[in-house]
């Protein structure tokens, strides 16, 4: 199949490319930019005048709910949502049921993903079997089966000795470790940030120090073990300060943030809005500003969705009894682009934070428009406004606190390995 995308503005931050040009795709790969390569006979033509042609997005964490929770979403339904959001590569979290701690589960996920054919799904292997924090998982076998990193999901690692062993073992195999930082005791009973809102609403809080203490401990172990480590979904200003200081000392550590943490704060919980029930919790304005500053300074190098689709009932209960999480694949790109309008990041950096930079964290060949690479491409109408609503979301999960927000920037086409997997030209 020979496909050409004509007249679009190609923005490829990894290659410092920003120009209006045609891009030629053959055999699922990017064959040429500018002039057609020899022997290219156009079979499909996509007109992209006035649109941006970007590398397909790379998302470091999404919950696809399969296996185990198909009433919330499936690999097919959620990768279709990813395609609608311009995401072509995503890491699926290990806390499926059963947990991603055996080769069989990895193979199941990869097979379902390849049957669906909507996105490259990269499983994250459990750091410990069953996420129980007691043993270390068969990281080598899981890596061979296709896992790109190890992670204990959102189950905190209470036992420091096991964590140290796991890091040492991963360091020996050069497998990156993704860490969710939460002190298991300080965070145990809470459902919102411990602060003004938890006090007012009488909701049990999770103090910021639950995250900061875990980051501090983990940084010391990262330094000692030399493992390639990455903090997922940081939520507090103080924690990113610790990460920044470690980076300055040369510790091999990176960090990401969920897009919603850059826009919402504890105040958005308002009168018990369960759509704002997330983990880590939405924190204070000061924390949000600290995250934004860390993002613009490059301390945080990726923005992820932390997509968690839910059935309606999961959010229909008194606040503490609801399940945390936001359906977020389809708002990732417009929220990243909005950072440009709000002067947090220049355009190329905003795009970099959701493309080549997350890919780079895991050493993946993705998130660029380099010649010869897989043609994973997202075409965006940068001027199109759309309102977030249940009706407009492809994901099975309609649970988003951004419902009613008017966002700018809509994906019009998504190509995976050169094949059109999503189109919404109007």
């Amino acid at each position: 199949m020979h496909t050409v995308i004509r007249n679009g503005r190609l923005i490829d931050p990894a290659n410092r490319r920003d120009e209006t040009a045609d891009i030629y795709i053959a055999a699922g790969r990017i064959a040429a930019i500018g002039a057609a390569p020899a022997g290219f006979s156009v079979q499909k033509e996509i007109e992209a005048r006035g649109r941006w042609v970007l590398p397909g997005l790379v998302d470091l964490r999404a919950h696809l709910r399969e296996p185990g929770q198909k009433h919330k979403g499936s690999i097919a339904s959620e990768t279709r949502a990813a395609a609608a959001g311009g995401i072509t590569t995503l890491c699926c979290a290990p806390d499926t049921s059963p947990v991603i701690d055996t080769v069989a589960v990895v193979e199941l996920i990869r097979r379902r993903a390849s049957d669906a054919g909507m996105a490259h799904v990269l499983p994250l292997a459990a750091l410990t079997p069953g996420l129980a924090g007691e043993q270390i998982s068969e990281m080598h076998a899981l890596q061979q089966a296709g896992c790109v990193a190890v992670s204990n999901g959102k189950t905190p690692m209470a036992n420091t000795l096991v964590l140290r062993r796991a890091m040492e073992y991963a360091a020996g195999l050069d497998i990156p470790v993704l860490l969710y930082a939460e002190d298991p005791w300080l965070g145990a009973s809470g459902c919102v940030h411990e602060g003004v809102v938890s006090t007012r609403l009488g909701l049990p809080g999770i103090p910021a120090c639950a995250e900061v203490i875990a980051v501090g401990r983990d940084l010391l172990l990262i330094e000692q073990t030399g493992v390639r480590a990455h903090f997922s979904q940081l939520s507090s200003a103080r924690a990113v300060e610790l990460v920044a200081a470690a980076q300055q000392r040369g510790v091999p550590v990176t960090a990401d943030v969920s897009a919603h943490q850059l826009y919402l704060t504890e105040m958005d919980v308002g009168q018990f809005n369960s759509l704002c029930h997330v983990r880590p919790p939405l924190r204070s304005q000061r924390d949000r500003d600290g995250l934004r500053a860390a993002l613009s300074e490059g301390v945080i190098s990726a923005v992820c969705s932390d997509h968690q689709p839910h059935d309606t009932d999961a959010k229909l209960a008194p606040f503490p009894a609801t399940e945390p999480g936001i359906s977020a694949l389809e708002t990732l790109l417009p929220l990243a682009l909005r950072l440009v309008e709000e002067n947090v990041l220049p355009l190329h950096e905003a795009i970099g934070r959701v493309t080549w930079q997350p890919a780079n964290i895991l050493g993946l060949s993705a998130g660029t428009l380099s010649l010869g690479t897989r043609a994973d491409i997202c075409i965006v109408d940068p001027e199109r406004y759309w309102t977030v609503s249940a009706k407009n979301l492809v994901s099975r999960g309609k649970n988003t606190p951004f419902t009613g927000w008017e966002l700018k920037g809509k994906v019009t086409h998504t190509l995976l390995d050169g094949k059109l997997v999503y189109e919404n030209a109007h």
Binding site: S198, T199, R200, G202, L203, L316, P318, P320
Partner: protein
């Protein structure tokens, strides 16, 4: 979603979920109406026909004797029909969802749900999802609010100390962290313009941003009680003695228990309140609980008048209607 879920388009009470965000006038209306009902209590015929034909369901997902009983009495004195639903034995324990159960009760033409639930936000959740003709009164949700208790405490204070809250110094003592009663009292006192509001407790039992609620925090009981007009004691739940919040009941009593010596730091005419049920020898000495300055039993009887007022107002039978009836 409306700015204030508990008000209708004209600013009248539709639900009573929390004291927070209400106007001073609304609180004063509740207190005034309760005052008119308090005289009904003293009559030999204790009923008024204000809510005749209305059906009120008491939904208690958490056990309670005092609050449920006073709500039931209040409803009966307003001539409403009352349905007590014992949730422990009802359908939600058979897997029926909370919402399914509510919709079934709506279908039986209930006009009001009086709800107690262990989760903060439960009353808001229910109010958000009930049919438009149903009012919700919060009888206590988690640690969040217990607004009728807060209002009956204001009623009791006003009866003893007069309507000028600005002249009063009030201290709330004990487990403020886990107390829905304290949160409702704090909002009510601040809305009514209290002169000074103090919270006295060990740091482990004070929420982290208590000052944002408008209280001065004291960890020393004697200093905190100095020259106060009203002392409100809170119940210390037994389970707080686990979880490293306090070392023991006896140490808590030593530091924060109210006995006659400790009470001497307050003004000589200070009143002592407690939402009940009291733990004698844990937070309060019997000599104080049963002493001259105690108004604890009055609080219980005032609870009926205040709940009558709140129920009438939520069902559109506010001060004007009550006036016609008398």
């Amino acid at each position: 979603m409306p700015a204030n879920l508990q008000l209708d388009a004209n600013g009248n009470l539709r639900h009573f979920l929390t004291v927070e965000g209400l106007k001073r006038q609304t609180l004063t209306d509740i207190l005034d109406l309760a005052e008119s009902f308090a005289t009904v209590d003293a009559q030999s015929v204790k009923k008024v026909p204000l809510l005749r034909g209305k059906t009120i369901a008491n939904l208690f997902f958490e056990s309670s004797t005092r609050t449920r009983t006073t709500f039931e009495l209040a409803a009966k004195r307003l001539s409403a029909d009352v349905l007590n639903i014992n949730i422990q034995t009802s359908a939600t324990s058979k897997g029926e969802s909370l919402l399914d159960m509510l919709h079934n009760l709506e279908a039986m033409h209930c006009d009001m749900f009086v709800v107690r639930h262990a989760d903060s936000g439960a009353a808001h959740f229910i109010a958000r999802h009930v049919a438009p003709h149903v009012s919700v009164v919060n009888a206590g949700d988690g640690r969040h609010a217990h607004p009728t208790q807060g209002m009956l405490d204001m009623f009791t204070i006003r009866r003893h100390k007069g309507p000028d809250f600005g002249a009063l110094r009030v201290a709330i003592v004990g487990d403020i962290m886990h107390s829905r009663v304290a949160r409702s009292q704090i909002h009510a006192l601040n809305i009514l313009g209290v002169g000074e509001l103090r919270a006295i407790a060990p740091k482990t039992l004070v929420p982290p941003e208590a000052s944002a609620l408008g209280v001065h925090v004291f960890h020393d009981m004697a200093r905190g009680l100095k020259d106060v007009d009203v002392v409100i004691m809170l119940r210390l739940q037994r389970e707080r003695m686990q979880g490293a919040l306090i070392p023991s009941g006896s140490e808590f009593y030593q530091l924060y228990g109210l006995d006659t010596d400790m009470l001497a730091h307050a003004k000589p005419d200070a009143i002592v309140m407690h939402p009940g049920p009291i733990n004698r020898g844990i937070e309060i000495d019997s000599a104080v609980a049963d002493g001259e300055q105690s108004v604890i039993l009055e609080q219980v009887s005032n609870g009926i008048a205040v709940r009558m007022a709140v129920m009438s107002m939520c069902l559109g039978r506010g001060p004007e209607a009550a006036g016609e009836g008398s």
